[in-house]
């Protein structure tokens, strides 16, 4: 037990909260349940990843909750642990470091593979090299009939005055030379011998090649004061996007700073400046429009990737969260303090999410929510000029093979370090291992392997840690059932008559839900077991066509039906 300062009551001293999150089981990907730790908005957990590994992950709480309680239909049990602010900070730091370290380790083979792939592509002389550069997709491709953007035209005037046309041409020539002189370093990344080592960071060939092209393209865009593509920015309607005089002043100051920064980047060009310079040019254009129109204009930073379909009922909380972030960012804009790039990025991010959520809210139908992939606008596009390094095709092929071999070797090392094990290394054991001696500061000690089952770990946390409060966040189906009258409730007992559940590839066939009526669970279990059996038999016949998919699904259905015979439920149905 830690000694408390004499002047503090226990309540004051343990004023911070860490949540232990336990997610109950469901069929398929998490038959044993799942566990995580929440620090404020950040959730740290350990996920099963391809190749049979267990890997640290960090996620914002809201998407985490949405995935597990809505899409996966699992109830989230929260044990809120009272800790001192110092303990909170120390343990948060411990989980963040672990996440960063693992991320760096897993990034090494990925980077080597990317190097290998790009060299293999460049070695092919029968086709033109292809390259997507982050940020280039925000701008209109070169055409003669496009009007110049005034913000970029102004920057070009200043750049010409400072460096002269010849100076800018010389810089572009030096970038072309640098691309030509690029060559891959031998794959010498030291492999970590244990999970506690961080590999040193490397500026890899593929990244240099990408960044040099981004830089060259930035000069070319500046040369023609290229405008943004019409779909690369938003000028949303509505009073909430109108700018007040003090906000306009803050944005004016920020736009000037951004222009100075872009001008300075042209002074001594470095490859790493390329992606940032492209984003800065695009933001300058958006800011220029905002100041001209007197309303918020911002770049589209959303990810085009198709996301899971969400029910319309999810739209209001998504909108509320985005709106709260937007209001916070606007308050900072109007606070009278100088706006920095982080503040502007947060405003841009929140405005994008709010706009997307508003569309979902207005649609009143299931929706796909696009999420910004980061705080930097990075829509990829093909640069005007793609150059090859001055290496022979044979040299590039040889280097590519060596890099792929190194990536394989590194991958094997990671497998040894992070191989998943049902009892010794899973989502629960890794939480308690990471807590390590820090567990004492939570009020007790839990042996990682003795608490390997998520449900058991949650019970242990309740018993041994300083839990101040416990509550559940109900699954989507549970929440829905609470709103029903008896007739509608009966209809929800079977997927065949359910108003909200649709059969999907994640779930095996079953005829009855067994997550709520415990008394009839064995009876329903018998029917579900028989259904699984029939699916298995059908799967045997279908095997030549579906490669055993139906057979495996039926077998899984039978397995998750077995516990139902003994009043125990795993399957709850998912909403993918």
């Amino acid at each position: 037990m830690l000694a408390l300062p004499a002047t503090l009551s226990a309540e004051e001293a343990y004023s911070a909260r860490i949540d232990y999150l336990y997610l109950d089981a469901n069929e398929g990907q998490a038959a044993g349940g799942h566990a995580a730790l929440r620090f404020g908005d950040e959730v740290y957990h350990f996920e099963y990843v391809e190749g049979g590994l267990i890997r640290a992950a960090r996620q914002a709480f809201e998407p985490f909750r949405r995935l597990y309680t809505e899409t996966e239909n699992r109830t989230l049990h929260v044990s809120r642990i009272a800790v001192t602010p110092d303990t909170y900070a120390a343990l948060h730091e411990r989980f963040e470091s672990q996440f960063q370290r693992q991320h760096a380790q897993f990034e090494v083979p990925e980077a080597l593979r990317r190097d290998g792939e790009i060299l293999a592509m460049l070695a092919r002389t029968d086709m033109s090299p292809r390259l997507l550069v982050k940020g280039v997709g925000l701008f209109e491709p070169a055409r003669t009939d496009l009007p110049e953007d005034p913000a970029l035209a102004s920057l070009r005037t200043r750049a010409l005055a400072r460096y002269g046309a010849e100076g800018l041409r010389t810089r572009m020539a030096s970038i072309r030379q640098a691309i030509s002189a690029l060559h891959p370093a031998p794959p010498d990344d030291p492999l970590p011998m244990d999970a506690d080592s961080s590999p040193p960071w490397r500026y890899h060939f593929a990244d240099r090649y990408h960044d040099f092209h981004a830089l060259l393209e930035a000069y070319r865009l500046l040369e023609r004061a290229a405008p943004l593509r019409p779909d690369a920015y938003h000028v949303p309607a509505g009073r909430e996007f109108a700018l007040k005089p003090d906000e306009i002043q803050t944005l004016q100051t920020f736009a000037r700073k951004l222009e100075e920064s872009a001008l300075a980047a042209l002074d001594q060009p470095r490859p790493d400046q390329g992606p940032g310079l492209l984003a800065a040019l695009a933001r300058m254009e958006a800011l220029g429009k905002a100041l001209r129109y007197g309303r918020l204009v911002f770049l589209d930073t959303l990810n085009e990737r198709e996301t899971a379909e969400l029910p319309w009922g999810s739209a209001p909380p998504v909108f509320t969260a985005a709106d709260a972030d937007f209001r916070l960012a606007r308050r900072e804009l109007a606070s009278g303090r100088d706006l920095d790039e982080v503040g502007y990025s947060l405003l841009e991010n929140a405005a994008n999410r709010r706009l997307e959520a508003r569309k979902a809210l207005a649609g009143k139908t299931p929706f796909h929510l696009r999420i910004p992939p980061g705080l930097m606008p990075s829509r990829p596009g093909s640069p005007t000029e793609i150059l090859r390094p001055a290496l022979s095709a044979e040299d590039m092929e040889r280097a590519s093979k060596a890099l792929h071999a190194a990536a394989e070797a590194y991958g094997e090392r990671l497998k040894r370090l992070y191989r998943y094990h049902l009892v010794n290394r899973n989502c629960v054991t890794e939480i308690f291992r990471t807590l390590g001696e820090g567990q004492a500061r939570l009020g007790g000690r839990i042996d990682p392997e003795a608490a390997a089952i998520p449900f058991v770990s949650a019970q242990n946390v309740e018993r041994k840690y300083r839990v101040a409060e416990s509550f559940d966040i109900a699954s989507r189906r549970k929440l829905f059932l609470e709103t029903l009258d008896s007739e509608a409730y009966l209809a929800e007992l079977s997927p065949l008559s359910s108003a909200i559940y649709r059969t999907n590839d994640e779930d095996s066939l079953f005829l009855f839900f067994t997550d709520t009526p415990a008394l009839v669970r064995p009876l329903f279990g018998v029917v579900n077991l028989a259904t699984g059996g029939l699916e298995t038999l059908a799967g045997i016949a279908a095997s030549p066509w579906d490669l055993g998919r139906t057979f495996y699904s039926g077998l899984r259905g039978m397995l998750v039906s077995l516990p139902e015979l003994a009043f125990f439920n795993i399957r709850k149905g998912t909403f993918r």
Partner: protein
């Protein structure tokens, strides 16, 4: 249900259905690498609700990352300033910063990081000059963080 009974039911089913922990859906597709061709995805999940924190908190976290990397770089004995700048650019991009060269806070954080490496005075002077590209104002900011 007791933990023992839980184990009886859960263990065989979990082992037969591959695993008992949640699968990372982000690893299911290659979209991650195609959407952001050459950059790490460390910030992806965070960014989805990133503005729930104030910009000062975010900036502090960025500067902490810069300081940590500066410490690591100084301890490594490397003099590859191109790689150093590239790493700082990568960190800056995760926080939406397009031009860290013009940001005083970044240089102050580099100074803090160099202090963390506990270098001798001659090594510090040499590294400060290298990382500030001999630019007096930047060197002054690094000194500010180093003190």
């Amino acid at each position: 249900m007791t933990p023992f009974k839980q184990l009886i039911f859960v263990a065989p089913i979990a082992s037969l259905t591959l695993q008992g922990c949640s699968f990372s859906y982000s690893s299911e597709s290659s979209v991650k690498s195609s959407a952001s061709p050459f950059t790490s995805s460390a910030s992806v999940s965070e960014s989805s609700s990133s503005s729930s924190k104030s910009s000062q908190n975010k900036k502090a976290r960025y500067e902490k990352s810069v300081a940590e990397y500066a410490t690591e770089f100084a301890k490594s004995g490397s003099s590859d300033s191109v790689a150093f700048y590239a790493r700082i650019s990568q960190l800056a991009q995760e926080y939406g910063i397009t031009g860290w060269d013009s940001d005083k806070g970044t240089y102050v954080a580099i100074g803090k990081g160099l202090a963390g490496a506990k270098l001798g005075q001659p090594q510090y002077e040499a590294l400060r000059k290298l990382l500030a590209n001999s630019e007096p104002t930047r060197m002054q900011y690094i000194d500010e963080g180093y003190r």
